[in-house]
């Protein structure tokens, strides 16, 4: 291996790692606020890529009907819950949030099916379609068991992943897709060719990380979210509704998954089941950050990307083995070097 190869491998690793950063940040965010390890994260990424490809091929994306079905179920559950708790006056509001809003992008997509929209509009539409996905899943699957143990939430989350993969096959079909390049540009950095796509991925990851930083430190909602993550009960006493925080966390998670999906769609062929492995590797990055620290998570995810790239060069059949093996020393290091904080939950 010479320095040229090392440079290309690093570049490739950083680009892959940047995708993992976006997803891993979502993992940490959702886990911190709701204690749910959101396994289907990668699937949402893959669905985004498939949706974008469907729009590009002038087909009606499967996501539209998927969202419509989920919105109906969520709205029904919300209405029943409100009726039972005697809050019938809040039903119109619930219908607006759980039924009308998610259906707007689906309706737009349905109305414009068969028309070739310009690329920025396609991307915006894809983002809007994907955004309600995680909050709706949260409402349907996790809200009824919000106070359960972390283990139960994890098991439900895994089950949800399998359900989503099945739905992916149903709604998108078995074929892989690859979308048109977002940018047609390439440059040289220190003699190493770098594609515009790579720069865009790394730039987006940095940009969204920075946005999250601003959100948490300078907005009231961000601070409320932070407070919920620190101490659920305490936040509640301060008048922050944990349910609302959860929905916002899932909405942000959906956004991060959708952005990574849009970035990854032109650089790789994505299948309905591609998301799981991407999510799992991002999860390794999140574990390095201990599922609490955003900066360490970002660094860890980039590290996973670079490690993956070099492992594939050294011994491609054992690439995954090498990447997932680092979980063992990381977990050992984390359990020895950190003082166990007192368990505040009921577990």
């Amino acid at each position: 291996m010479n320095s040229q190869i090392a440079a290309i491998l690093t570049m490739d690793g950083v680009a892959t790692g940047a995708i993992y950063v976006l997803i891993a940040l979502g993992f940490v965010l959702i886990f911190a606020v709701t204690r749910i390890i959101f396994v289907p994260f990668g699937d949402i990424t893959a669905f985004t890529a498939l949706t974008l490809a469907d729009l590009e091929a002038k087909r009606l994306p499967g996501t539209a009907s998927m969202i419509a079905a989920l919105a109906l179920v969520a709205a029904l559950m919300e209405v029943v819950a409100l009726l039972r708790s005697g809050g019938a006056s809040r039903i119109p509001r619930a219908l607006l949030y759980y039924l009308a809003l998610p259906l707007v992008p689906a309706a737009v997509v349905w109305a414009t099916a068969g028309v070739m929209l310009p690329a920025p509009l396609r991307i915006a539409l894809t983002l809007m379609l994907i955004l309600p996905l995680a909050p709706l899943l949260d409402r349907i699957v996790f809200r009824p068991i919000a106070d359960a143990s972390v283990l139960l939430l994890l098991i439900v989350s895994v089950a949800l992943h399998f359900a989503l993969v099945g739905m992916g096959l149903l709604f998108f079909g078995p074929e892989g897709v690859r979308t048109q390049s977002l940018v047609d540009f390439s440059t040289d950095i220190a003699g190493t060719p770098v594609s515009g796509e790579t720069l865009l991925i790394v730039g987006s990851a940095a940009f969204f990380s920075f946005l999250l930083y601003l959100f948490f430190n300078f907005t009231l909602t961000g601070k409320a979210l932070h407070a919920t993550a620190m101490n659920r009960t305490g936040a509640r006493l301060m008048g922050i509704r944990p349910q609302r925080s959860g929905t916002i966390a899932f909405l942000l998670g959906s956004l991060l998954a959708a952005v990574s999906g849009i970035l990854i769609a032109p650089v790789n062929t994505i299948f309905y089941d591609s998301g799981f492995l991407i999510g799992l590797k991002a999860f390794v990055g999140a574990i390095i950050g201990g599922l609490v620290s955003f900066p360490v998570t970002a660094i860890g995810s980039v590290f996973v990307g670079i490690l993956e790239s070099f492992a594939a060069f050294q011994s491609s059949p054992f690439k995954e083995v090498i990447v997932f093996s680092i979980l063992i020393p990381v977990l050992l290091w984390r359990s020895y070097s950190f003082v166990q904080t007192e368990e505040e939950d009921e577990e």
Partner: protein, 385 residues
């Protein structure tokens, strides 16, 4: 009570009469996957057998009845179907199915119940120690698929070739085939790089291949994702030719591969390029007939290799039935034995894929004539003599 007994007797007589009337008919059972994950190719097999049945549905005045069943991509359902065909439908011969595990399962049943079986997917059941096996496999072997393309590389003056393939058994089959061909003087294989269908990047593997400076690249992937290494190698500035196996003959591979896949050469059954074959080619006449019948029956072009396997299986059966009818009556164990012996004794049976010569020593009966080399030019596969 007496009336019931009478009725039963009458019914038994009726059904006996019906059997007697149809005793001279030959019954063939066909199994494919019309649902489940293997259905995307299973449907092609179904269309192929429909074309075959429309092509010829009788042998020397004996009508052929075709019983078709779906195995739902499930080997255990294939086993049940095979038993049902033999024990309820009393078939004289079985053809099936669209997945390798299902085909192996049917072959095992055929060996047990001693009914001839024509496999349209690869098989790897051990040959019985005593007697002869009760089945054959129509497709080309993976080794042969690689050998034909490796020979072509050699002919084009290529000395070394890189290899990138799937991490699964298909990647192993192609790599081992290339290694076996290397021993016969075909190009030296310089790398053994692997990737999986859901990988996000093959940059590292492509770099490793580039470092060995091969003249060409052999692609051991399949379907859509086989395009990934080609795209990456071209991006890194690789100038050599690309080669592959019939696993690349896929519409989505061409779509995703785009400019990078242009010029890739793969081995393929001649049925893929029937219209481009010279008139002297064994597959030209029968292949043209196949494409015509297929179009009439299915209202679509036969642009896959799978429907051709069903059709060839039917041709092998027709040829064998012609011989077997001289010595035995359909529906009897003697007829089953005679059919199997006729499959072995018929020589040079020309189909749309290959010239078949079966022996009891192996399930496969194809040779290098069963594969031609085709090249991707402007998104179309073009025959390369």
């Amino acid at each position: 009570m007496r009336r019931l007994a009478l009725g039963l007797a009458a019914f038994a007589g009726l059904s006996f009469g019906a059997t007697a009337a149809g005793a001279q008919d030959i019954t063939v059972g066909f199994v494919t996957s019309l649902s489940g994950p293997a259905s995307s190719i299973g449907l092609n097999y179904e269309k192929g057998i429909n074309a075959a049945y429309a092509y010829q549905a009788e042998v020397d005045g004996h009508k052929i009845n075709l019983v078709k069943l779906d195995d739902g991509s499930d080997p255990s359902a294939a086993t049940q179907n095979a038993r049902k065909l033999v024990q309820q439908n009393h078939v004289d011969l079985m053809i099936g199915t669209s997945s390798a595990p299902g085909t192996n399962a049917m072959l095992t049943v055929a060996n047990e119940l001693k009914v001839p079986f024509i496999g349209v997917s690869p098989v790897n059941v051990p040959i019985p120690a005593t007697g002869h096996p009760w089945g054959i496999a129509v497709p080309q072997t993976p080794n042969l698929m690689v050998k034909v393309i490796a020979d072509r590389m050699k002919r084009e003056g290529i000395k070394t070739t890189g290899f990138i393939g799937f991490t699964d058994s298909w990647g192993d089959l192609v790599y081992n085939g290339a290694k076996a061909a290397e021993k016969d003087g075909d190009p030296q294989v310089t790398s053994n790089e692997r990737y999986s269908r859901t990988d996000t990047s093959v940059t590292a593997q492509a770099l490793k291949v580039m470092a060995t400076k091969p003249d060409a690249l052999l692609d051991g992937g399949s379907a859509t994702q086989a395009a990934l290494p080609l795209l990456e190698m071209r991006k890194l500035g690789f100038k050599g030719n690309f080669y592959g196996t019939p696993a690349l003959l896929n519409r989505d591979f061409v779509r995703i591969g785009g400019k990078a896949a242009e010029g890739v050469q793969v081995s393929a059954g001649p049925v893929i390029v029937t219209s481009q074959l010279p008139d002297s080619h064994f597959s030209k006449k029968i292949g043209t007939t196949f494409h015509e019948v297929f179009k009439k029956v299915n209202n679509a072009e036969a642009d896959d290799g799978f429907s051709g396997y069903s059709f060839d299986g039917w041709l092998i059966f027709l040829n064998a039935a012609k011989v077997a009818l001289k010595t035995a009556k359909p529906g009897t164990p003697e007829f089953h034995e005679a059919l199997m012996q006729a499959i072995y004794s018929n020589k040079d049976v020309a189909g749309v894929h290959a010239v078949y010569n079966f022996t009891p020593k192996s399930y496969y009966g194809v040779d290098a004539r069963s594969l031609v080399v085709v090249k991707l030019v402007d998104g179309k596969w073009v025959y390369q003599p």
